[in-house]
């Protein structure tokens, strides 16, 4: 790097720093500051009533899939899904009964990767192409994945998708800030870790007009997720398997 370039880049960096407070004024929402000593542990609480009252709203799904270059496949059996709607019956078939509230029972449930405390997908992956970070996010390395699909077999929640064919052919307008994938690899929700590093909330949470999705830090006793988990009774999917999902549902 020559001197001129160095000066230019330093200038640009300084400009960025200066612009930061101004940008923050316009930011929709961001993650509250936390004690640097506390370990962060991300979690999500979904309020099913709020979500279902919004009817056919799929803003969160669109926001996520757009931000992450999730392709729209023609064949339903080859769909790639990071976050999607599933019937209550299929989501909680071990926790339903015929006398549940009709709206709840027949209404859709938003499902995604549960970012389990004990993720079976991580346990089975033969190449560590998927792993759990210290903040609880179950991550994927699309460049290391060999496409054996063992993680899909091991996941009790159907949260993982495989690229049966080239996904790039099914992207209308690829988003430049996020990588696209190749055929033959597994992908799933990464809890917007790329947005979290920019201090932004996950795309689905930010997009939800009903405020049905609450994201936060379980390590912080005053966080909105901890408040909700304390004040409301919540469900988790297949709690008996010991995976400890970190997506909670208020019913």
């Amino acid at each position: 790097m020559d001197r001129r370039l160095f000066v230019k880049l330093t200038g640009l960096g300084a400009l960025g720093l200066a612009a930061r407070p101004a940008l923050d004024l316009f930011a929709a929402a961001e993650i509250p500051a936390h004690s640097p000593l506390a370990q962060r542990r991300w979690a999500m609480v979904m309020d099913l009533r709020k979500c279902q009252e919004a009817g056919d709203c799929e803003v969160c799904i669109a926001a996520c899939h757009q931000a992450h270059n999730v392709p729209k496949m023609d064949r339903p059996d080859e769909e790639i899904k990071w976050v999607w709607k599933e019937s209550f019956h299929h989501t909680f078939h071990d926790q339903e009964h015929p006398y549940l509230d009709e709206q709840l029972r027949h209404g859709p449930v938003l499902v995604t990767c549960n970012h389990c405390e004990n993720p079976p997908c991580v346990r089975v992956c033969p190449t560590q192409a998927t792993w759990k970070r210290d903040d609880g996010i179950v991550m994927m390395d699309w460049h290391r994945c060999i496409g054996c699909r063992y993680c899909i077999v091991g996941c009790p929640y159907g949260s993982r998708s495989f690229n049966w064919q080239d996904p790039r052919k099914h992207l209308a307008e690829p988003h430049k800030d996020f990588p696209t994938r190749t055929k033959g690899v597994v992908e799933k929700c990464t809890l917007c870790e790329e947005r979290l590093t920019r201090n932004q909330l996950p795309a689905c949470v930010e997009a939800c007009p009903a405020g049905a999705l609450v994201f936060g830090d379980l390590g912080d006793p005053d966080s909105p997720v901890r408040e909700l988990l304390k004040s409301r009774y919540t469900l988790r999917r297949k709690p008996n398997l010991g995976t400890q999902p970190q997506v909670y549902y208020i019913v």
Binding site: D77, P120, T127, I146, G147, G184
Partner: protein
Amino acid sequence: MLEKALYGDRKYWTWLAALGAVGLMGVLFYFYQFANGLTVTGLSRDVTWGFYIAQFTFLVGVAASAVMVVLPYYLHHYKAFGKMAILGEFLAISAVLMCMLFIFADMGQPFRIMNMFLHPTLHSMMFWDTIALSGYLVLNVVISRATLSAERKGLPPAGWVKPLIYLSIPWAVSIHTVTAFLYAGLAARPFWMTAILAPRFLASAFASGPSLLILLALILRRVANYDVGKEAIQKLAVIVAYAMSVNVFFVLMEIFTAAYSNIPEHLLHFEYLFFGLEGKSALVPWMWTSEILAVLTLILLINPKTRAKEGLLGLACAMVFVAIWIDKGMGMVVTGFVPSTMGLVNEYFPTLPEIGITLGIYALGALLVSLLYKIALGVRRSLV
């Protein structure tokens, strides 16, 4: 020693050419799959493993079953298996290689296969299965080569071979145990999460593998004038009879536990397998075929009179092979996915490219068996 494979009559070369042609067809289908992705298979979001993994699981059993001739011959000095042991070892080599090819065919990113070794992952059963299978392959190659070349020189096998042979016995058990662990440790799939899966895999392996060996021995007697001896065949038939009985017993254990406990997530899989779910019943005729064949083979094999007749024995062995191929292959693998973890009932049907690749791999396996048997028989002949 290897040059023995190069001397054969017209029939031999025609046979090899036919197998080579089928293998080539498989390779061409594989290129098609490689270019387009696994979308050319019948696999889907819900059924993510299918025909390839079914063949893999079945063939691990065939590979492991070599121990059923190796153990009596080397450990108990059961001399009647003298001509059979090498056939078992060579069959094991071919079966393990076919297993590896099926895994390769199933991979979404086959060129990244070295990631398995670059990032060895001790908590993944797939890593251990790779170790078990590669180790078993090496053991069998070394052992069969050492014993055969010693035999050619008219000497007993070198001293260092013995410990390897003893090691290969538990190792054979391990390959099928670890293959069962691929399935049996998954909380997500109640159909497979049963402690009896590994014992059941071993029982079905010790029925299907020796059945194939008996068939091969009967064929070799006709086409190559190589007789392993009536006693060896009959002894192996007894092993098949016991193993098949234990296998059927284990299957009944499974069905009892699921049916009597009446836990839906266990029972639904068996319902799908034997009666169909939500009007979807692709596997039902196959499974009933498998069960009927199993019962018939038990009648033929347990009865000493029918077992002693080699014609009937051959028929029974073919039936055992088919029954277990259905039950342990598609029946075991696909049913784990139906219903899915979400409770969805979506079926799976293998496609033409999948069947083409599968036939190709089997043809390459048969080609290798033929070459290896040619070598073994050639060495034996030159001794006489």
